[in-house]
């Protein structure tokens, strides 16, 4: 067998579980959402009602999608389309980095490059591998939609759209992997670009023009600058137009070509961004497990923090557009109110809904900081610290404290940013926004505590548990109502228990219960971690 064939089979072997998980996540998400929508919005009048309200509110257009008629398929796309594209985008960007830069960084690729497999063949194999994965995911998602009773043409268009978005972001990942010398940086930049693409699509939708029937929205030009926009403009289940998907493929082809060109010019293991020297002495600030934990996590924490604060700024901005929209249409006010707790002014409930989103982003930072403990353990660097005078407890609590303090700071900042933008509507929103943002801390603490407990009790599952938790938090907490999930399932998401506006008569019981729960779990984790072996496997 030639080298390329061997490398390709090797990738399939390494990714067999991962690929299966991705296929299942995409296909089952589609199936699950389709089934839920068939239950909650099973008649056209129901869907018409929702869409008419949606098309009036730029904030909702941004968070959902541009309506394209009241058909079941089109409604499905509005609710979940951009999120399915987001999932496949991350899958591809990570896959590209995993099989190129990550291998190079760890030195594994030297073993390969030193054989008859040339320097480029690993990348060629990765391109073929990723293409196959995308075809597979697209196909199975289409099958899932058909199983849910949707038409063949629309289902296949959705599969095509997802695969095209996937390959476009594969190109992004492949390129960042060439530019940066660490997989961490490559993945960070890949994720940032995915975020920008999602925001461009959302902004395009928000700026869309609504047809007189209130059921169709033509998105603004911004969607044409986003691979997610290209994918969604195939308009599955309505127009079934495969052409915009080709833009994604052309985009990917260009990026892949650039990646090959870059690889041909650079040294193995080097990036385009040259590594800088560090300081010869440690600064006074780097002196214990706590400052080390901060130093190691600050990049990730700042990344999540910037995301949360941009989100908070968007809340402020959308609040303004919501105000304008509501002045034109009082119907909207009732609808937005119904989505929240049903108390307080429209802006207060709006703020309540949106702050849980910010809370989730901050939970991401906290979960990742907890995961870092496991990464330090498997890398062998935890040992270096634990073999000094730093006790197990101190090391563990360092990460917990860094995560909690950073979360509190990001939340406070987000609250201030959102609040100052909304202050023009109602001065009282300023402090309410800050208080509501900080009220997310116990929920963040719950996410953090469960991940920490997993690390202490069953270390090998720390990272899967962390990400699964994050995923379920989004699905249960943010989409629970939409999907018609039973209350007890929704209540599993910590963010559903945070206090909501108006704060004057808010229910704080959830806050206390979650704070207590988080502290207990962190404590149990500390005891369990002290009692177990430090292990790299």
């Amino acid at each position: 067998m030639n080298a390329l064939g061997i490398l390709l089979r090797f990738r399939l072997r390494r990714d067999r579980v991962r690929a299966l998980v991705w296929v299942l996540v995409l296909a089952l998400s589609a199936l699950f959402v389709a089934a839920a929508l068939a239950k909650t919005y099973n008649t056209e009048p129901l869907r018409v009602g929702v869409l008419k309200l949606l098309s009036l509110d730029p904030a909702l257009l941004a968070l959902r999608g541009a309506p394209d008629g009241a058909g079941a398929g089109a409604f499905f796309m509005v609710e979940i389309g951009s999120y399915l594209a987001l999932l496949i985008a991350f899958m591809n960007s990570f896959t590209a980095v995993r099989h190129t830069r990550a291998d190079e960084e760890s030195g594994r690729s030297e073993l390969i490059v030193a054989t008859r497999a040339g320097r480029g063949s690993a990348t060629v194999a990765t391109v073929i591998h990723a293409t196959a994965l995308n075809v597979l995911v697209g196909l199975f998602t289409a099958l899932a939609m058909m199983a849910a009773g949707f038409g063949v043409a629309g289902s296949l268009t959705l599969g095509w759209a997802l695969a095209c978005a996937g390959i476009a972001f594969f190109g992004v990942g492949l390129l960042t992997a060439q530019i940066f010398s660490t997989s961490r940086a490559a993945n960070g930049w890949g994720s940032a670009i995915i975020g920008v693409a999602w925001v461009l699509n959302a902004a395009g939708n928000a700026a869309g023009t609504t047809a007189p029937d209130g059921l169709h929205v033509t998105p603004g030009a911004a969607v044409w600058f986003s691979p997610i926009g290209w994918a969604l403009r195939t308009r599955p289940f309505t127009a079934n137009d495969w052409l915009p998907g080709l833009i994604g493929i052309a985009f990917a082809a260009v990026l892949i070509a650039v990646a090959f060109a870059l690889q041909g010019r650079r040294d193995t293991a080097a990036g385009l961004v040259a590594a800088r020297n560090g300081r010869p002495w440690a600064s006074v600030a780097l002196r214990g497990p706590g400052s080390l934990a901060w130093r190691l996590q600050r990049g990730s924490i700042i990344g999540w923090g910037v995301g949360a604060i941009i989100g908070a700024a968007a809340i402020g901005g959308l609040g303004g557009t919501l105000k304008d929209a509501m002045e034109k249409n009082p119907q909207l006010a009732t609808a937005v109110k119904a989505m929240g707790s049903g108390h307080g002014t429209v802006f207060e409930s709006f703020l309540g809904i949106m702050m849980t989103l910010v809370g989730l982003v901050v939970a991401g930072a906290a979960i990742q900081t907890m995961m870092r403990m496991r990464q330090e353990e498997t890398a062998g660097t935890a040992e270096l610290v634990l073999a000094t005078g730093a006790s197990r407890l101190r090391w563990y609590l360092s990460y917990v404290v860094v995560a909690l303090v950073a979360s509190a700071l990001i939340l406070a900042l987000s609250g201030l940013v959102a609040g100052s933008a909304l202050a023009s509507i109602d001065a009282g929103l300023m402090w309410q926004a800050t208080a509501l943002a900080l009220a997310q801390l116990p929920a963040v603490g719950a996410y953090l505590a469960i991940t920490a407990l997993a690390f202490a009790v069953v270390p090998p599952v720390t990272i899967p548990v962390g990400w699964t938790l994050f995923g379920f938090g989004i699905v249960f907490g943010e989409f629970g109502g939409l999907l018609g999930l039973p209350d007890w399932v929704r209540s599993l998401a910590p963010t559903t228990h945070t206090a909501v506006a108006p704060l004057a008569n808010a229910d704080w019981s959830g806050t206390w219960v979650m704070s207590l729960l988080a502290l207990v779990l962190i404590g149990v984790g500390a005891v369990a971690f002290r009692a177990r072996n430090v292990t790299t496997v």
């Binding site: 960084e105 590594a275 560090g278 010869p280 190691l296 073999a387």
Partner: protein
């Protein structure tokens, strides 16, 4: 003299695999103790138990008279550790890691004594502390751990194959540092290694382990008595039968015009007059090396594997 490390019947298993099977190890204060064994014999597992990173499954372990598991952090203030495979934080510079570890060990990194010691070590090991750790080779990562260990004094140094990846010049620097530490500071050293010349040069006592059990332990002089001294000389028409007649001579062989035989080390003095009578030329008396000692224990493992292979056929 007090005991720094003492394990009795130490056991540890990972799942069904038995890593330590009743290991006895004693390190006295002020001694450099060699800890020898083939790959996978349980050296690193023992060290990780002694550092309280993993908990012993059975038997007892004491470091400075305390339980290394429950008193881990307190004990670590007196210990400097160099792992066998040094992992570093890729985005920290070597200099930062050195200072961080020293601070975590309780050293005052602003003190002139520390700065002087660190400067001397960085120079001796020809190390560039500015580079980010991801840019270091294996040898340079090893230097980070070594400099961090030596930059602040400790009562006990636990070194797990510390010279792997170092070039011979750096190995010599390492040897010098260990000798300084042992002589001037009265510190104890547990040196795990499979480089026999290094152990022979540095260690007062050695423990050889195999399959999780100590098979030999004692001073080098004591251990040498367990093996024979090899004597060889030019054949020059000397009758092989006459050599065989020497009392105490074993394994007489002729290898490319030289006659070789071995005697118990205690009998060397009594053999020499007989050699004088035979008027032997270009005589070489080779005292037993650690390598032979090692092979004596390790060698039958090789032959037993051969046997088991033969048995399976």
């Amino acid at each position: 003299m007090s005991t720094v490390i003492e394990t009795r019947g130490l056991e540890k298993s990972f799942g069904r695999a038995l890593a330590l099977d009743g290991l006895d190890l004693t390190v006295e204060q002020g001694e450099v103790h060699g800890f020898l064994g083939p790959n996978g014999a349980g050296k690193s597992t023992t060290i990780r138990v002694l550092l309280g990173l993993i908990r012993a499954g059975g038997g007892s372990a004491r470091v400075f008279g305390q339980d290394p598991w429950s008193a881990a952090a307190r004990l670590h203030d007196r210990i400097a550790y160099v792992p066998g495979d040094v992992a570093l934080w890729p985005n920290l510079s070597g200099g930062e890691v050195i200072d961080l570890i020293a601070r975590l060990r309780g050293a005052d990194t602003r003190a002139a004594a520390y700065r002087e010691r660190r400067r001397r070590l960085v120079e001796a090991f020809q190390f560039d502390p500015r580079k980010k750790a991801r840019a270091y080779s294996k040898g340079n990562r090893q230097k980070v751990a070594l400099i961090a260990a030596f930059a602040a004094p400790a009562d006990l140094y636990i070194l797990d194959e510390p010279t792997s990846g170092l070039d011979p010049v750096m190995e010599a620097v390492f040897t010098e540092e260990i000798q300084t530490i042992a002589k001037n500071e009265g510190a104890s050293v547990l040196l795990s290694s499979h480089i026999l010349s290094e152990v022979e040069l540095l260690c007062d006592r050695v423990t050889i382990i195999r399959a999780g059990t100590a098979v030999e332990s004692g001073s080098l002089a004591e251990l040498r008595h367990l093996t024979r001294t090899e004597i060889s000389f030019a054949r020059d028409g000397i009758d092989e039968a006459a050599v065989r007649g020497i009392p105490g001579a074993h394994d007489v062989v002729l290898v490319s015009d030289r006659l070789h035989f071995t005697v118990d080390t205690a009998d060397v003095a009594s053999v020499l007059p007989r050699l004088g009578e035979l008027q032997v030329q270009s005589l070489i008396v080779a005292p037993p090396s650690l390598e032979e000692l090692f092979l004596r224990h390790y060698g039958d493992e090789i032959s037993s594997t051969d046997e088991s292979l033969a048995a399976t056929r």
